[in-house]
Point group: D2
């Protein structure tokens, strides 16, 4: 059973756009990570970590105490070091939950876990997106309406080059005529992974009630469970 | 490897709307089954069968020689007899391919194979649908463009109460704001099952090149393979 | 997050073998349902229900208050009435968890949910079974060792005619040379379904620590979640 | 429909054991690749490639003309260069079929595609393995019996740290008490991937009729299909 103790969530943010671009700073003045932290602070132990900290803030100590890691990155995926990618990868396989947000589809850690290019189509047109719940029985859909409407966002369109999800929770409709698999669940090793599309830096997506509800649900869903031993190697 | 012999395809149609409703007769004067037959006649042995024939045209002899069965029904699902539903069910489990079209989502055979209600949302508004290929590597997507656009159709919306598909090939975008998982692959026993959404009786959907391409691809994909023995019961 | 309230578990047992056969009565003197109840009583509200009660003990009231239903049947599957099968089916699609045990693979409710014959091979030889955890990250494997060994049981062998499981948790090794997918997870509608192979009536399988651990884990896993609305029908 | 033209199969072999170890040379005097080539020569265009050739024999030209690539490696996975791993990876995502044999589970290309460690348990005891067909409707099982028995082989045991397979075709029973998911199907991008366990270098596994049948079936199954465009990037 899910442990009743409070989960520790580490929110990783590239944190470059907010410091470089006034439009982004206007939306997320403290950084996207602080807005995400506000969603979770009440009932989670929250750690924030950013690209320009030593080891990008993701030391072994931090990962050891983390139950679920949120990942937001965009323009500097290649600056995330091999050693940190490898460390996060190992922790996910051992049970660390990972929630990859929006442009994080192109992060090194997500591509490594998926084994595909994670490419997609996009258009920055600020038009409407409606995320439909296609799996209303899924815990990540808890307490949502049948859809979530975001009045202005960037479009992501299919094809999305990822493995067929274990469970598909959301499909997005875009005003411009496209669709996208916006909420995709995976397990790799003992780790639960959720890709969630919303979150462009120039729109206040993470202020939206429905999006906040999904982030909280996804954190609950992605927490590690005890499981059985993962014992490998030579047997007698 | 897929057998090079010509497949035998049986097209089952309820064939009531076309005889009762002038608007439908104007679109499908010979019945939907004949329009579907035209798609396949060149390189398949085609049999047609309709509800009001004895045993609905689906005798054991017909099913024995059929490789792939197409199913179109709408207003008279409940008139399909238990014995024929059971017979088709057993043949599917033994390898018969089944392609369920449009309102066939509510057919007795599809519900029996899925184990769910197969319910959905709908609106008959004659607006545009665009079917996006979300699995461009799938053989049912062979030779398609990135999407198929149908200028006028009935809307089907999520949630669609079916088991998570083995492979999801198409997702539909609707002008009115909805999405739908429009091309869903399943296997049950040795049988391949493909649900394909397009096909409303008052629009000439089956005259559309892209839709015809999908029907042909789906027939190729759904053909039985030899497989290994399905042996059940007590072992020595 | 899983609700902290105590789950209500209804244990359904055919309860015929125990009253008809001294060998079975010696192993399960109060009935298999009472032995299963003992596993869960401490921290669940437990209801028992049996075939020969009115409505087989599965009235609408009972199902309404049930979170998870356990199902054990063997010789009298056909005596379960259509109305009760239909009622349980609807409740599962609306979120009721269902754990199908051993010979319950041939129950009407399991076959209805799977859409296949659920056939398999078997041999009553009282030889050893070892259930391997193939998905150590799954919550149903919580706190298990790498395998569970049952010194004497009936053999079930492949092929097992069920849809490919959403998650496969256990694979059994049998002394006589066979294998079996012994722990299979499905979702249908909002309901979680777990098939668990162990449980023959002439061996004290449900006294085994590992088996008891799995039953408890499966109950935790199968509990309903809130989800989003399942709204179907015509839209404006 | 699968193209009727002859498939081009490239067989990649590490080809070290056979040249270094007399016991292996006794079983595979020309190298494992030549024994595999003998299985396919009659009705495929076969290319062989080995680690110590320039670019490991896997030049862009070779990959461009290859439909399906077989991969056998064991002691020198780390000597496969990053550029060749990357090249094969890209070709798989674009449609190249990949069949990974036995100890190839630890190859760089398989780990990259899976996103997991691909670890397992093993014991070199020369005992019996029986591969059960758990998916008798799968084309890779065409013309097999219910199981394949290998009198002497190395044991591989669960857990096998791979993503849940799209389709599980074989499960192995081992005389020593273990089980293993021995035939696992995946798709990544447009490429079909099949992991097949048998093939230890000190036993004449690839001389076995059933194993040869599986290799041929897997090649047929893994051939590229035309599909739809994989178009990514900015849209108008």
């Amino acid at each position: 059973m899910t442990s009743p103790t409070m989960a520790t969530v580490t929110i990783w943010n590239e944190y470059r756009h907010e410091r470089e671009d006034d439009d982004v700073a206007a939306v997320y003045p403290e950084g996207i990570h602080e807005t995400l932290a506000d969603i979770l602070n009440d009932d989670h132990d929250v750690i924030t970590a950013t690209l320009d900290e030593p080891e990008h803030g993701l030391t072994t100590d931090v990962l050891e105490e983390t139950d679920v890691l949120l990942w937001w990155g965009h323009e500097a995926h290649d600056e995330v070091s091999e050693s940190v990618v490898e460390r996060v990868h190992q922790h996910v396989l051992e049970g660390l939950g990972l929630i990859v947000l929006h442009s994080g589809h192109y992060s090194r850690i997500f591509k490594r876990l998926m084994g595909t290019t994670c490419s997609l189509q996009y258009r920055e047109d600020g038009a409407t997106e409606r995320l439909w719940v296609v799996d209303p029985g899924h815990p990540i859909a808890n307490d949502l309406e049948e859809s979530i409407e975001l009045p202005q966002t960037e479009m992501y369109g299919e094809p999305f080059d990822v493995p067929e999800p274990d469970r598909l929770v959301f499909v997005s409709w875009f005003e411009g005529g496209e669709v996208f698999r916006s909420g995709c669940c995976y397990r790799r090793g003992s780790g639960r992974i959720f890709y969630f599309r919303p979150g462009h830096e120039t729109y206040p997506i993470y202020e939206h009630d429905g999006v906040q509800r999904v982030v909280r649900n996804a954190v609950d869903w992605a927490r590690p469970t005890d499981g059985a031993p993962r014992t490998f190697g030579e047997r007698e």
